[in-house]
């Protein structure tokens, strides 16, 4: 039972990370109608920049994540301008190929600056909490709490603020939104920036429990895609439910069956779901 509680919290912490990363990706899909295959690379870059500010520059943990998030927001905007905007009228295969090019670029850049070796990022948050006999590290509690706060703020931003509402408007009907004076280009930039920012928060939170490497984004990339496909491309609630469900399934199978199965469970579930419902579980009617 203690092990179960322990793993449940581990799963929830991982789920928080997955959600933050998946929500950005699903937002980008909703607005730009493209699967951004470079998302995992943005996450990796966010982790390294957080590491740089925390360890090399020496600013506090929260500030390091904040600075990295703002920098990645700018990177995201640049990515939209330089890569996706020029391709907006191309067939969908071209976006994906270009995104792969961007992904390789980011990985090579990180490797050139920080090297290919694994790096450890020490967290200033230490200590453990005892919940029902299980010892949960404080870092995991911080991840869960931060993820919930960020998700709540994001929901507030999208539903209440003007800029957030433009995102939803473009998702629903691009032409209609431009008719009422919303600039689709601005919204695209905002969305990609936001997705990079969310990925960075996720990366900054999880970096102390995982190791950093230039390819750390690859596995996450595939898992996050599995999540948003499970939840239906473009669906926010789907991304949240899918993120937590997958993370808990992963930690539980890794604990009770084997770690290799835990790593593969995302894809096994993905294959099973797509074999039965080719358009995901919670797909909303998407206008094409």
């Amino acid at each position: 039972m203690t092990l179960f509680i322990q793993q449940l919290f581990n799963g929830l912490a991982l789920g928080g990370v997955y959600c933050l990363a998946a929500i950005g990706l699903t937002l980008v899909f909703g607005v730009l109608r493209i699967p951004n295959l470079a998302h995992g690379a943005l996450y990796m870059l966010g982790a390294y920049i957080t590491y740089f500010f925390l360890t090399t520059v020496g600013v506090p943990y929260i500030a390091a994540i904040g600075i990295a998030a703002i920098m990645l927001f700018i990177v995201g905007v640049g990515l939209e301008r330089l890569v996706f905007h020029p391709l907006r009228n191309s067939p969908h295969t071209h976006h994906m190929i270009a995104a792969v090019g961007a992904m390789f670029f980011f990985q090579a850049l990180a490797q050139a600056i920080w090297g290919a070796d694994f790096r450890r990022m020490d967290t200033p948050i230490t200590g453990e909490l005892r919940i029902l006999g299980a010892e949960i590290s404080a870092q995991r509690i911080v991840i869960i709490v931060t993820a919930v706060i960020v998700l709540a703020l994001l929901a507030l931003f999208i539903k209440r603020s003007i800029h957030g509402q433009t995102i939803e408007a473009i998702e629903q009907d691009r032409v209609g939104a431009s008719l009422v004076g919303i600039n689709p280009s601005m919204v695209s930039m905002l969305t990609l920036g936001l997705s990079a920012l969310l990925a960075t928060i996720a990366a900054g939170l999880v970096a102390p429990i995982n190791l950093l490497s230039p390819t750390m984004g690859d596995a996450l990339n595939l898992k996050v895609f599995a999540i948003i496909i499970l939840g239906g491309l473009g669906s926010l609630p789907g991304a949240i439910v899918g993120g937590f469900a997958l993370a808990i399934a992963e930690t539980m199978t890794a604990t009770y069956i084997s770690s290799a199965v835990g790593e593969a469970v995302a894809f096994i579930v993905l294959v099973a779901v797509l074999a039965i419902k080719p358009n995901g579980l919670f797909t909303k009617a998407v206008q094409r």
């Binding site: 020029p86 391709l87 270009a98 895609f225 797509l274 080719p278």
Partner: protein, 371 residues
């Protein structure tokens, strides 16, 4: 058009001849021969990608996985089970075909982005199985001493030149298959699907069946390329099946030109050369190559062969237009004797215009190269 005068056929033949003659220049340099031969193995897999992505317009990101299955099939059967190369090769290719067909059954239920992500997941599962199933695949220690093909006393495949010509011969079969597919009704069916699936469905094309066939064929080419790769290199590790392989193939086909006959070969050779050029920088090469991929997709999505093809089309159209104008002048002076010819020219020009127009609205470099 007379086949012997078609610039496209002349160009493709020239590229193949040039490649076929490289051993004359490099026969003494084993390293160079090996690099070119490995590049040709990749080119075979890229021809597979060409069928599913170039002709049918479906982004298949599992090609690296199928390449890995072919490579591991040959690698494991010739070492651990001590089969002969040829038996192992045939069995691995058939195995890849079966796995490809089964994957296609599920994968092709999905469309567009779902298809791309789904095939990426298939590729990753294949990679996971190969890199984790230690008792069978030896995981990270890889497979050593893969057998050379048996020459039956006639040829000694341990010589790099003999190996080169073996891969070259199989590559030629792939090039010819691609050429034949494009000229056949199967090729036109696939191109119709690329232009518009709904349209293809509406005019009675068996969309599902054709896509299934294209997917299985692309997997087979991947398996053939992988099997040859294993014997050429002699050692294979899990990275033979990694997702990076798929992305390399993508770059090859993009540089050469999607949906063309000579594109995959030309692209593979040029990018292999570039990789060698940047070899000192190893992993950093993508700092340069990454932006090149992006720039290619934005500014030159049709690839080298696509552009050359467009150039040839434009020239032949202009020549025909001039011929038609000349015929018009004749008509004015000499009366009705040549009217049939002029009308024919005009009709053909009109047809060209419609075809290239359709290509543009399809958003892909389509019908201009399909003639």
């Amino acid at each position: 058009m007379n086949a012997m005068k078609n610039p496209r056929i002349i160009g493709t033949t020239a590229v193949i001849l040039l490649l076929g003659l490289t051993p004359l220049a490099f026969a003494q340099e084993n390293y160079a021969m090996r690099v070119i031969t490995v590049g040709m193995c990749a080119a075979i897999a890229v021809y597979g990608l060409n069928i599913i992505l170039g002709f049918t317009g479906q982004l298949n990101l599992a090609q690296g996985g199928f390449f890995g299955i072919g490579a591991y099939g040959v690698g494991l059967l010739t070492t651990d089970y001590d089969w002969s190369f040829w038996a192992a090769f045939v069995v691995s290719v058939i195995g890849t075909a079966v796995i490809g067909y089964l994957c296609g059954l599920i994968a092709l239920r999905t469309k567009d982005e779902y298809f791309a992500i789904f095939t990426m997941a298939i590729g990753f599962i294949i990679f996971l199985v190969i890199s984790r199933w230690e008792p069978v695949t030896h995981a990270h220690s890889g497979v050593n001493n893969v057998k050379f093909p048996e020459g039956g006393g006639l040829v000694d495949f341990e010589s790099p030149v003999a190996m080169f010509y073996l891969v070259f011969a199989i590559l030629l079969i792939c090039v010819y298959t691609t050429y034949a597919i494009r000229r056949s009704s199967v090729g036109r069916t696939l191109l119709t699907i690329r232009t518009s699936e709904d349209l293809a469905d509406a005019i009675g094309v068996r969309v599902g069946f054709s896509k299934q066939l294209a997917f299985a064929a692309s997997a087979v080419f991947g398996g053939v390329g992988g099997g040859l790769y294993a014997t050429v290199v002699g050692f294979i590790g899990p990275d033979a099946a990694s997702i990076d392989k798929t992305f390399e193939f993508l770059m090859f086909i993009l540089v050469g030109g999607m949906g063309t006959v000579a594109g995959p070969l030309l692209g593979s050779m040029i990018v292999t050369f570039l990789f060698e050029l940047f070899q000192d920088f190893q992993a950093y090469r993508f700092i340069v190559l990454g932006p090149i991929i992006v720039a290619l997709v934005i500014f030159a999505p049709r690839g080298i062969v696509g552009y050359l093809g467009g150039f040839v089309d434009k020239r032949s159209r202009r020549r025909r237009a001039e011929a038609a104008r000349g015929a018009d002048d004749d008509l004015d002076s000499t009366g009705a004797s040549t009217s049939g010819g002029a009308g024919d020219h005009r009709a053909r020009n009109l047809a060209d215009g419609i075809e290239s127009g359709a290509g543009r609205t399809g958003g892909t470099p389509s019908s201009e190269e399909t003639k």
